[in-house]
Amino acid sequence: MGRYLSIFLTFTRACLVRDMTFRTNFVIECLTSLGWMSMNLAFYLLVFQFTPEIGKGTGWTREPFFAFVATGLIINSIVQALFMPSAEELTEMVRTGGLDAVLVQPLDAQFLLSMHRVDFSSFANGLVGAGLLGWAVMRMDHAPPAAAWLLYPLLILCGVAILYSLVIMLAAATILLGRNQSLYDFWFYITNFSRYPAEIYAGPWGGLLRALCTFVIPILLVVNVPARVITQPLEGRGWALVGLAVGAALLALVVSRLVFQAALVKYRSASS
């Protein structure tokens, strides 16, 4: 474990050196990332011009909703910074046979393929998310209890773990398909469901989708559970969701590991 931590820190240092070597590019990447986020925030502000709440009686008024958005920003920035850059390289590695060089290394392939590149500019959104969270929480009617603040980082980690497992499953799909340029698109589209409170998925079709995105692909637990803990009183249902999020995160890590290993067995090298 210590060896892997040491290697990960070496990767991190190398990526930081590279980012700082091309500082202008780094600043531009931060700005473009912030631009995308600002555009979404502008859209949400526009929506609240027309309604006081997202869903009647759901409690997602303006400030709690922005705390929800901030939570999503923090979780996504961690995943985008730590795992997505490596996953994006995988599709070309499979197509060109570059994956062979990874498989012969005396290291765990999943570790090498998912953590060898860190994108520091993606942390910019997380920092803004933290600021937005502070702004929203201070303007809410009630302050979150101490228990909520203790649970919040744990649930953020659970959200990151669920998304990481999804990245690994997509990586496994890439290995099986031979090429998967839609990997990043699929990531964007599937995580799109986690961008809004689960309560919006109402009605028979909404209920089905909500169940699917909670129990099959637990994408709705990623942002909803930590955001609910910090914005709404912790009651019976709230505690049940906390348990569900922790359980789903652990299960997702195990299942994605097994699927990835099975996909590696099926890998056929593309190189000569």
């Binding site: 555009m39 340029q181 699929f186 589209y189 109402a202």
Partner: protein, 287 residues
Amino acid sequence: MSRAVTTPRFPGLRAWFTMLVICLEERLAYRGDFILGTAMRFLPIVTQVFLWTAVFAATTRTDIAGYSRTDIVAYYLLTMVTRAFSSMPGLSGGIARSVRDGSIKKYLVQPVDYVSFLLAARIAHKLVYYVVAVVPFAAVFFLCRGYFPSAPDAATIAAFLLALLLSFLLGFFLEATLGMLGFWFLEVSSIIFAYMLVQYLLSGHMFPLDMLAGVPTGLAGVSVADVVRWLPFEYTAYFPAAVWLGKIRGAELARALAIEAGWVVAMAVACRVAWWRGTRRYSAFGG
């Protein structure tokens, strides 16, 4: 014994058709990836339908900026159709990459016009996309038929189809021109990303642009919607959808179509000028 050299009757047309066939074959080489990508494009609309349903459930309004709940759902579905015509994934980046790695030089020595080749490739790309996407599109529109008002008259449908065709050409020439900036700046990914942001926000892909009518710019009597009207982006998503929903009619519709055609011509000229000037200052890289 000498063989008579036969010249094709329409050499330009034949070369163009060959380019189209090559591109079709290339697009179909990775079918699994392509079908997966096509099907996934419907996922964001599902979220938007539920979001706006929740918004209308929490407000006493019956319409937002002239759009009822069903209008908004129909609008998002129609923008999917428009984007299927106007979006050009990978076009700008591909051109800039060809300039950077030197592969563009083959088009300088071959009797093939690069812009025409790109257009043929894009038509092939779109044709394959429509063949694959027609099934999910038909299924989604059938399932959501209750959200649409009754079908518009023949003239509106004709205007809608014309707007779609022009949106394809406008999208192509906009992004091709953007990619040609690679002749001046070797790395244009940040410019492309900034363009995508602006395009996504101001094209009406994110929400009906009529919602910006009440958003002030700081200038007296000028809203953000007024500023957006002066830009070409609305023709790549909002305009055809608004035409189908009857939001733009009569003389206003004819004027808007003429402006859209004007933008297509302007961007086609800009693209050609960028190509001429760019190739003049180009230094080939790569082996």
